[in-house]
């Protein structure tokens, strides 16, 4: 037994020693490291590495793309930036967080900045900027919501799928009512007009409610993003939230029992959903038998416009030893053709204005609707460092109304007060 024990320890020690050697060391090849958490777009991400091979011929640097799970990415980014030398050179994130709240971003060189000022559509002008200074390249153009309708269900309800309602109250609401099939026994409807988002974190719920808010002419914060009371609980906002909440509680054209709105629409249980342009890719894959069309969102006092809470941008790490090379790479891919190839690969909308009239874009199901929405006025943006916390506080009010926990005015007053406290802190 003694001998066996000694052998056992020796083997264990040897094994531990062997495995304690660092894992496969990175090749001698110089490289730029790019982190992204856009794991739903693998082809988009791989393109950087492909381009990196071309870039290496000029500069000697390849590009290594690391895809990070979306869940927990904030912690990983922060840890890496704090530790400095294991941080990426280029990373994808929101400017107002990493450059505004923290100080981890490098300023974009002036020449590159000019290129983007000239070539971005007016809706995208602020994306990638913080306090007027540009730090990064916007990568997503299609993340504003549009209206998807199920053409078969429209026809069945006696509505014209080529001519959807253009105003929330009363036309759109009336259409929703026609599209809802109530349950005879008074339970949940078997089919609803509108697929509403009621699950998940309050930030997502705020995101889905904002088109309604903007259509009523309301805004979450003051234009300087320094005050919430008077804006988040303005009469217009209360009216918008009342309309929204009534969809569930009074008119019953939306239901909380339908799970994911994406699934509900895909299963033909809901006739209308407001979703971004990635959604028709999902539909083709998961629900290929759904016949749909994409339209601009309805308006009310104003049109909601192409708004977004999440301006994803490619940024350069301030303390990266390779930041000059990183900007070289950004210059290398900052042209209309690369922008086109890059986004077409994944089936998403390109960013450069020049590409918005290309054949590829014209062939997309959301071409007309995107054009229509971009023609509307630019909605308010809320690119504030505390945007997560503010949107969470606001979202609690929206959710509260949906679940019948209170009245719109009272909940919005509470949320506005909380948002002001957050802003002041």
């Amino acid at each position: 037994m003694k001998r066996n024990a000694k052998w056992a320890i020796a083997i264990i020690a040897a094994a531990l020693f062997a495995f304690a050697m660092p894992g496969a060391s990175i090749a001698q090849q110089k490289k730029l490291v790019l982190w992204t958490h856009w794991d739903q777009n693998p082809d988009f991400n791989k393109w950087y590495a492909e381009k990196g091979k071309e870039f290496a011929k000029k500069s000697g640097y390849e590009v290594e793309v690391v895809t990070i799970p979306y869940q927990g990415y904030e912690a990983k980014y922060l840890a890496a930036f704090m530790a400095k030398n294991s941080a990426p050179d280029i990373f994808m994130g929101m400017t107002h967080h990493w450059c505004g709240q923290y100080d981890f971003c490098d300023k974009m060189p002036v020449d590159l900045e000019k290129i983007y000022d000239q070539n971005l559509p007016k809706y995208m002008a602020e994306v990638g900027k913080w306090k007027g200074v540009r730090y990064g390249i916007p990568i997503e153009h299609g993340n504003f919501q549009q209206m998807y309708i199920n053409t078969d269900m429209f026809k069945k309800a006696g509505l014209d799928p080529d001519n959807p309602p253009k105003k929330f109250d009363p036309e759109w609401l009336a259409a929703m009512k026609k599209l809802t099939i109530a349950d005879a026994k008074g339970g949940e409807p078997t089919q609803v007009g509108f697929a509403i988002r009621s699950k998940g974190a309050p930030v997502g719920i705020t995101d889905k409610f904002l088109p309604f808010a903007h259509a009523w002419g309301a805004r979450m914060l003051s234009p300087e993003l320094d005050k919430a009371t008077g804006y988040a609980n303005s009469p217009a906002m209360v009216a918008a939230l009342t309309f929204f909440g009534d969809l569930v509680t009074k008119d019953k054209v939306a239901s909380l029992a339908f799970g994911n709105p994406e699934d509900a629409f895909g299963q033909k249980r809901a006739a209308v959903i407001f979703r971004e342009s990635w959604y028709f890719g999902w539909l083709k894959k998961n629900a290929p038998d759904v016949n749909f069309k994409v339209y601009a969102l309805p308006c009310q006092t104003v049109c909601p416009g192409a708004g977004a809470l999440f301006p994803w941008t490619d940024l350069v790490y301030k303390n990266s030893p390779n930041k000059q090379v990183a900007w070289e790479f950004m210059r290398f891919i900052s042209n209309a053709k690369d922008d086109m190839d890059h986004h077409q690969l994944q089936g998403i909308l390109p960013v450069w204005t020049a590409n918005l009239e290309s054949d590829y874009v014209k062939s997309r199901p959301d071409y007309q609707s995107t054009k229509a929405m971009l023609a509307q006025q630019v909605p308010p943006t809320y690119f504030h460092p505390k945007s997560n916390e503010l949107a969470t506080a606001f979202g609690e009010a929206v959710v509260g109304v949906m679940f019948g926990k209170g009245q719109p005015k009272a909940l919005l007053d509470e949320a506005a007060a909380k948002m002001d406290r957050i802003l002041k802190d």
Binding site: Q71, Y102, G259
Partner: protein, 302 residues
């Protein structure tokens, strides 16, 4: 201090024995010190500062404690966590005990191993994968649970979407994940109870219930305490399952303390506040564990 001097420089055999005991424990203590002590101390330090890493740090004394401890959102998270605890811990421990007792009775080793492996399998799945699969089973429209219930005439329930049902639903998943782990511990312990005790009880004509109460449970006392303490700690810190599925919804009804801590630290960038929550978690768990230790520990006569 004199005791410590004698540990380092032992004078007699007894001292050498004490030193040996300490040395056995040393590797674990070194690990504790290096991996957790410093970050914990840093957390406590942060809880007195208003900070943004990479940004400014400002000493604010107890202000953050006041802020967090008077925040209704914080107490809502505490309430949710405690509710989850009360739902999952007793259920897990009692069910695990019952299953272990049942498994112990099964004579055929082949069948016992088969059933034991099936109970244990949930523990072999990653928490996130398990939660996502359960989320789908709970799906109101196309999930299996409502489908099965429809055969017995029960209307489809909202489960994770319902304010009232979300916590019990999550608790059920926690029980499912952890029951195998506890069962295994209890089973191993049951199999180490010397048969003589039971034979003696048989001679005395004890009933099954009496055997359970006077022999089995006291012999398992140490394991039961360990399991209850561990279950309490793990369920208090519940994070992965809820974050992957409900994300605290609907309407904050399933937001747990650790979820709020994560959001506060990494999404709201308020590390000072998050550190206050961490201190709160640590102190609460420490106090509860100490209480359990004192109250539940019963000396066993061998």
């Amino acid at each position: 201090m004199r005791q410590w001097y004698r540990i380092v420089f032992p004078k007699n055999y007894l001292d050498r024995r004490k030193r040996a005991g300490f040395l056995f424990v040393l590797p674990a203590l070194l690990f504790f010190g290096s991996v957790f002590l410093l970050p914990l101390a840093q957390s406590v330090l942060y809880s007195f500062h208003k900070i943004t890493p990479g940004g400014a740090r400002e000493f604010v004394g107890l202000r953050l404690y006041e802020k967090v401890l008077t925040d209704p959102t914080f107490w809502r998270a505490v309430g949710n966590t405690v509710q989850l605890l009360l739902l999952s811990v007793p259920t897990t421990v009692v069910l695990a005990l019952a299953v272990a007792l049942g498994l112990n009775r099964i004579a055929s080793l082949k069948w016992r191993n088969l059933w034991a492996s099936m109970y244990f399998l949930p523990f072999a799945t990653s928490l996130v994968a398990a939660a996502l699969i359960w989320q789908w089973i709970y799906e109101p429209v196309y999930g299996f649970l409502n489908y099965a219930l429809s055969f017995v005439g029960i209307a489809p329930q909202k489960w994770l979407q319902s304010l009232a049902q979300v916590l019990p639903s999550i608790a059920a998943v926690s029980v499912w994940v952890r029951i195998g782990f506890d069962t295994m511990i209890f089973l191993a312990a049951l199999q180490s109870i010397p048969g003589e005790y039971y034979e003696a009880a048989d001679i005395d004509g004890a009933s099954a219930w009496q055997r359970l109460r006077y022999i089995t449970l006291p012999m398992l006392n140490a394991q039961i305490i360990m399991v209850v303490i561990l279950e309490l700690i793990f369920n208090f810190k519940i994070f992965d399952q809820v974050y992957a599925t409900t994300q605290g919804g609907p309407a904050g009804a399933s937001q747990t303390i650790i979820m709020l801590l994560y959001d506060t630290a990494f999404k709201f960038f308020r590390f000072g506040d998050a550190s206050v929550m961490a201190v709160f978690v640590f102190v609460t768990l420490m106090v509860v564990t100490l209480l359990q230790w004192r109250l539940l520990r019963r000396p066993v006569e061998y």
